[in-house]
């Protein structure tokens, strides 16, 4: 059988049910094999859309996403999704076509050293040099992408090798990766120490990140939090790992987190990080971050331990099993004084009462952007998969949309890729066809991959797009206003395109909303409309995201 036919068998053996991609010269053999392989393929309009769709699929389902691209420009177009998947620990396997082996290194037509270009952006990559390497590469790629700290893996296949007849006696099932053995089980002694530290802490905080989502540790995190009555704050990527409406939830922390969450971190005596990495958007000024705290750091990636903040009790391994063991250890402790946290909770409730998230609503019918997110939450009952793009709308969504369950919040967190939202929503909808999938975007972000509306329309992928339209690159404008003397340089987007007509041009339904009084009802109607729907919502043009830890400042100096 041809190597590419073996490739299809291997993909099926890995449980692949859908591929996002776009064919070209160098992966013609791959697409020929795909023709009757019995795997669904979503033909995107740009490879970046394919990569982000595979990410959205992976984030919404927990499975490994797959993206195909051809050589040269096809491959360079997926560099952004690859880096995005790397930053957010998202399991995606990218299969690229490559020019014939005899053309390699000759600047052949559509030749790109994709392995070289993507080297700093991948968890690992395979340059296929012999067709017999392919089955093993596929199995190992899926293993590497989905285990340990998940991430992107690239497999580059020269077009002559993919057409070669090879003997194939079934997919490879063993691994030959002597240098890759992620630690899964946490050290029992460290876990016991962590339990003791939690039991004796007076001002503890659980700080939960995307790693808890990747590990599927929601039940365990909740159990730990409720068992010890610990306050919980989530990172942008961690939202949903602990229910946002839970009374112990402090909301998101960091640059645009709640004051309560940030103040709690600032005054905590013990911070237990679960699958979070102390990013600069969390810590603010590092020297003044959580000055009184000791740190328990649970992470699958040893390189995250003590990278930014020194861990007093590091525990390397899978968050799900570690937190489960931590719960057991904590439960087994004698004489834990539950009342020791009374003062801490009083302090926290004080902040919550004094500093709730707030904004000044408009007097008339004008829609404030925060109101739009609240209306969307009301219209959906919080029961939907929500992807966003990057910028103000994203931060407001993180603040005002309460996520009670994981994998409903589809984000480009680390890389912050504008243009991520629509294709990611598309991938999420493919993975979870029975759920309502909404993409909340900005008028700037949506235009970066709006060609994927055509993919949604063609493939019947029923995504609802809500555009928070302020006619600005809003977050950049906010920074120019606050830190650059209001010199608005190149942030005014004007009034084009007409998003209603854009929706109609793709056979969908377009709506423009401007009145806050009927907003919830209008959104409900829009979301209930079958097929592709684009809702263009005019919001207050110059509104800022608050509260905010100004760049280089400490959490206690939050403004707004």
């Amino acid at each position: 059988m041809r190597a590419v036919d073996a490739l299809m068998e291997c993909l099926k053996a890995e449980g692949v049910e859908v591929i996002f991609g776009l064919p070209g010269g160098a992966n013609l053999p791959t697409y020929d094999a795909l023709y009757d392989a019995g795997i669904r393929h979503v033909l995107v309009r740009h490879e970046a859309g394919g990569g982000h769709a595979a990410q959205g699929y992976a984030k919404a389902t927990g499975k490994t996403g797959v993206c195909f691209a051809t050589s040269g420009p096809g491959a360079t177009n997926i560099v952004t999704p690859i880096m995005d998947a790397m930053m957010d620990s998202c399991p995606v396997v990218f299969v690229t076509g490559q020019v014939r082996t005899d053309l390699l290194g000759t600047d052949g037509f559509q030749e790109t050293d994709v392995i070289g270009i993507t080297m700093p952006a991948v968890k690992h990559s395979f340059m296929i040099q012999h067709p017999l390497e392919l089955p093993r590469a596929i199995h190992e790629a899926f293993h590497i992408a989905s285990t340990g700290r998940p991430g992107p893996v690239v497999i580059d296949i020269p077009t002559d090798l993919s057409r070669t007849e090879i003997p194939f006696d079934g997919p490879v099932t063993d691994l030959r990766l002597p240098g890759y053995q992620p630690t899964v089980e946490g050290n029992a002694k460290q876990i016991r120490q962590a339990a003791n530290a939690l039991a004796s802490s007076l001002r503890p905080v659980l700080y939960v990140g995307g790693g808890a989502v990747n590990a599927g540790a929601y039940q365990e995190v909740r159990e730990l939090a409720e068992l010890g009555n610990f306050p919980v704050t989530c990172t942008l990527l961690g939202l949903g790992a602990f229910p946002g409406t839970h009374e112990q939830s402090l909301g998101m922390l960091g640059m645009h987190g709640t004051r309560t969450a940030n103040y709690a971190m600032d005054e905590a005596d013990l911070i237990c990080a679960i699958g979070a990495r102390f990013d600069d958007r969390i810590t603010g000024k590092l020297d003044e971050f959580a000055p009184n705290a000791k740190f328990i750091h649970i992470d699958i990636d040893p390189a995250e331990i003590s990278k930014n903040v020194p861990a007093h009790i590091p525990i390397v391994g899978d968050a799900k099993s570690i937190v489960a063991n931590l719960v057991a250890e904590y439960r087994a402790l004698d004489g834990v004084e539950a009342s020791r946290l009374d003062d801490w909770w009083t302090r926290i409730h004080g902040w919550q009462a004094e500093y709730p998230l707030r904004y000044e609503d408009s007097e008339g019918t004008e829609i404030k952007p925060q109101r739009l997110v609240q209306a969307l939450y009301e219209a959906t009952g919080g029961d939907c998969v929500l992807s966003t793009d990057i910028g103000q709308h994203q931060m407001w969504a993180a603040q005002y949309f309460m996520f009670d369950s994981p994998r409903n919040w589809i984000q480009s967190g680390g890389l912050g890729t504008m243009g991520f939202g629509l294709p990611a929503a598309m991938g999420a909808k493919v993975g979870r066809p029975d759920d309502l999938v909404v993409c909340l975007s900005g008028d700037g972000s949506i235009q970066m991959n709006q060609q994927e509306l055509a993919t949604c329309a063609t493939e019947g992928i029923d995504v609802k797009v809500v555009i928070m339209n302020n006619g600005y690159l809003g977050m950049v404008r906010q920074w120019q206003e606050l830190f650059w003397d209001k010199r608005y340089s190149q942030v005014d987007m004007g009034v084009w395109p007409d998003f209603v007509k854009l929706a109609e041009a793709h056979g969908g339904t377009g709506l423009r909303l401007t009145d806050k009084t009927s907003l919830v009802e209008d959104l409900r109607t829009a979301l209930a409309t079958p097929g592709l729907v684009v809702v263009d919502v005019a919001v207050t043009r110059e509104e800022n995201v608050y509260p905010m830890i100004a760049p280089g400042q400490a959490a206690r100096d939050m403004v707004g």
Partner: protein, 185 residues
Amino acid sequence: MGDPGTKELLSLDELEATARLRTGRKHLLSVLVENKPGVLARVAGLFARRGFNIETLTVGPTDDEQFSRMTITVDGAMHPIDQVTKQLHKLVNVLKIRDLEPGFTIVRELAMFKVAAEGTSRSEVMQIGEIFRAKVVDVTKRSIVFEITGTADKIDAFERMVRPFGLIETMRTGEIAINRGRSET
């Protein structure tokens, strides 16, 4: 240090990275890697993209043809060694990393020096060579090539001694190292 998003001006002093988790000494990392194409590029790329500077790097085969040995020296005053080794560990093709303890390690570097040696200076240069146990491996009327092994410090010292005679060319391999005693490196 100022955030990139703000207009706060930075001074050159502030640009100098803050010293955190730095050991202040030279580190010798012995790294066992899979003998596969592209592995050196992955290691080198990792150093490059995190701003780590490799002082020396040697690569050679091991007694098992599946694996190669890299010996890397890194300045611990410039870089957090802990992060360097942890990041190296994340590379799928890297099996083992040892940050070798200076007291328990035998370190050697090979160097060749081409020194100008005419007339009266000739015997003087040869004498210095003898003191350092450097071997003469090539002689012409106007030059001598010495071969010398030792620690980097010894080779530095030799270089300082012969430089005044006219150093035409130097070639150094970078250090390799092995653990003392029975235990494996």
